[in-house]
């Protein structure tokens, strides 16, 4: 018990606390980016994208090669890599994903297969060793006792900008309206003149865009390897179960909960403890509210 309290006491140190908050926000933002795309694909196409983490991996590698090999400044490399990956992924949409639309069970197993193909294709292409993306900035910002690394701040700002853009897109454009309609009821949306085939492509593009962006930011904080996608994928699962599958506000809430839990518990008790805790919470939630905090129960 004393040990428990003394570990918690670490968090009261302002330097540590600042770090915990910055970590919490950046982790939350990345988890939300991954989970939003995942929940979007599920909500609209009823596809459980087990390969979602691998698009984050591809985004990270695109960012890595553009900054390291072509020496592009990160401000150009990041959007170029992310859009490039999302555009190239439309080929996969045509080859793989379109067979699984509205076929949830088959999509899970089939896309697990795609997941394996992408991971081990990545291993063949890039080997398993970990690489580092050079930090956008080495400087730190001092706010009293709190030290904030600038590159973490950049990650937070980019992620928040992307989330705002996504929100505006979904809420205030015709394509966004069509997506929300398709998510509610595909057949009714079709009778109202929504071209669902086109909307599926747009939704897929947006989902992969968010995943690739999350991967790039993740790769900048941690390291880039073909296995990069595994953790974001697990986190996306936890986030969407927490928030409710198919629910966009749920993904935001779940991501924030998970990001801060991991930052706080991880700092005080270690990474394993925070992983076990998140899993325990998810199990308990599934027993009492399988549709998540903000989701709606089916039938």
């Amino acid at each position: 018990m004393l040990d428990f309290l003394s570990r918690l006491e670490i968090l009261l140190n302002p330097t540590v606390l600042g770090q915990v908050i910055v970590n919490g926000i950046s982790l939350s933002a990345i988890y939300i980016l991954v989970a939003l795309g995942f929940t979007l694909l599920f909500g609209i196409m009823r596809v459980v994208n087990f390969a979602h983490g691998e698009f984050a991996m591809l985004g990270a590698f695109a960012f890595y090669h553009l900054t390291k090999d072509l020496n592009w400044p990160w401000m150009i490399a990041l959007p170029a890599g992310v859009i490039g990956v999302a555009a190239a992924s439309l080929v996969l949409e045509w080859l793989v994903f379109r067979w699984f639309y509205q076929r949830m069970f088959e999509s899970m197993i089939g896309l697990l297969g795609l997941n394996m193909m992408l991971i081990y294709g990545g291993v063949l292409l890039w080997d398993t060793h970990e690489r580092n993306i050079p930090a956008a900035s080495q400087e730190v910002l001092m706010l009293g006792d709190i030290i904030i690394p600038i590159d973490r701040l950049i990650v937070v700002v980019i992620a928040l900008a992307a989330l705002t853009a996504f929100y505006l897109f979904i809420r205030h454009t015709r394509a966004g309206l069509a997506m929300r309609a398709a998510a509610q009821d595909v057949e009714t949306a079709e009778t109202q003149g929504v071209d669902t085939r086109h909307i599926y492509k747009v939704a897929f593009f947006v989902a992969i865009l968010l995943a690739a962006l999350a991967g790039s930011l993740w790769g900048q904080i941690y390291a880039v390897s073909p296995h990069l996608g595994e953790r974001p994928l697990m986190m996306a699962f936890i986030v969407v179960i927490l928030g409710g599958m198919g629910s966009i506000p749920g993904a935001a809430l779940g991501g924030a909960l998970l990001g801060f839990t991991e930052s706080i518990v991880g700092t005080a008790f270690g990474a394993a403890a925070s992983a076990f805790l998140s899993f325990g919470v998810v199990i308990v939630l599934l027993v009492f509210r399988p549709w998540g905090i903000l989701g709606t129960p089916e039938n």
Binding site: F105, M245, A275, V282, L286
Partner: protein
């Protein structure tokens, strides 16, 4: 097929399985034989769970409980192998009895997600718990069940006996009244419940039996390999068992067995190309689910029906994949 041809076929298959190791001295073939037998236990036990409409992605976690339970009993407590096997199998069954009633209430997609996460948590727990499990390094010098089983051919017969027991048990369950209740649960859980099938209780029983068999396989595998590491129980292993069921076809136990033979032989043919092997498995999973969700068994039935049908008769529809939403 008449009863007589079935019996003749069964006897013939049994004779072949018992006699073939004597026709060759190739230790490698014996080794492949052991792997096929042990894998068949995992594949057929997972098939039981799949037949209730749930695809579990944490079967390897139960193999891990069986393996570590058995190896620790034998190596740390110094008890004989049969006790270890029982402890390992019991540990897997106990774990299944603990989480089963919780996770089996979930519908298809949540079940898949939660078992995927659970498998990962068990693997993490093994890696973290260095004092007990040796962490990522694993445990070395695991003793064989008995010195005579150091011979691969002898181990083959041990594996064959256990595989026959496991597959026989699965076939017996599927063929019984209980198996028909399982089919009813898969096809319509609420309807089954209304017809008086105690759905959750039946699903939990099936889950416990299947996971206990997985634990048994884990124990036998550990004492055969003589090393034990968390990587033997990662998500990929669970996924491979799913692949076996998917390519064989999820509607029949034969499918799982065909899948097990195929999935053990293919890596042996592709030795040295481990990454390509995973890519091929991935492609098979995708292609089967996209174009032939009934697997090899369904495709074979389809072709057979087309060949024997009269020219104008329509081909029978492909059966549903068998998993409830």
């Amino acid at each position: 097929m008449t009863q007589a041809t079935k019996i003749t076929g069964g006897v013939l298959a049994a004779v072949v399985l018992v006699v073939w190791p004597w026709l060759t001295d190739d230790r490698f073939l014996h080794h492949v034989g052991v792997l096929i037998m042990l894998t068949a236990i995992g594949a057929s036990s997972l098939h039981l769970i799949i037949r209730t409409g749930h695809v579990s992605l944490c079967h390897a976690a139960f193999m891990a409980f069986g393996a570590y339970g058995s190896v620790l009993t034998v190596m740390s407590l110094g008890l004989p192998f049969p006790v270890g096997l029982l402890v390992g199998t019991g540990a897997a069954a106990l774990l299944a009895a603990t989480i089963g009633p919780i996770v089996l209430r979930l519908t298809g997609k949540y079940f898949v997600l939660i078992t995927f996460l659970f498998g990962e948590v068990v693997r993490m727990a093994i890696v973290e718990n260095v004092a007990l499990t040796g962490g990522s390094n694993g445990i070395f010098n695991v003793p064989p069940p008995h010195p005579i089983f150091l011979d691969t051919k002898a181990y083959y017969y041990l594996a064959l006996a256990f595989a026959a027991f496991a597959v026989g048990l699965c076939a017996r369950i599927l063929g019984s009244e209980f198996g028909r209740a399982m089919n009813a649960i898969r096809d319509g859980e609420r309807l089954a419940e209304c017809s008086g099938v105690p759905v959750i209780r039946f699903k939990v029983i099936v889950f416990i039996i299947a996971c206990a068999l997985a634990g048994m396989q884990g124990s036998l595998m550990a004492h055969y390999n003589k090393v034990l590491s968390p990587e033997n129980f990662s998500g990929i292993i669970s996924l491979n068992l799913v692949v076996m069921n998917v390519i064989g076809g999820m509607s029949s136990l034969w499918g799982a067995l065909i899948g097990a033979v195929f999935m053990v032989m293919l890596p042996e043919l592709l030795r040295g190309y481990v990454n390509i092997q995973h890519i091929i498995f991935g492609a098979i999973l995708f292609a089967t689910m996209a174009f032939m969700p009934g697997g090899i068994i369904q495709a074979a039935r389809h072709v057979k029906a087309m060949l024997s049908a009269k020219p104008d008769a329509p081909a029978p529809p492909l059966a549903r994949t068998g998993a409830a939403e």
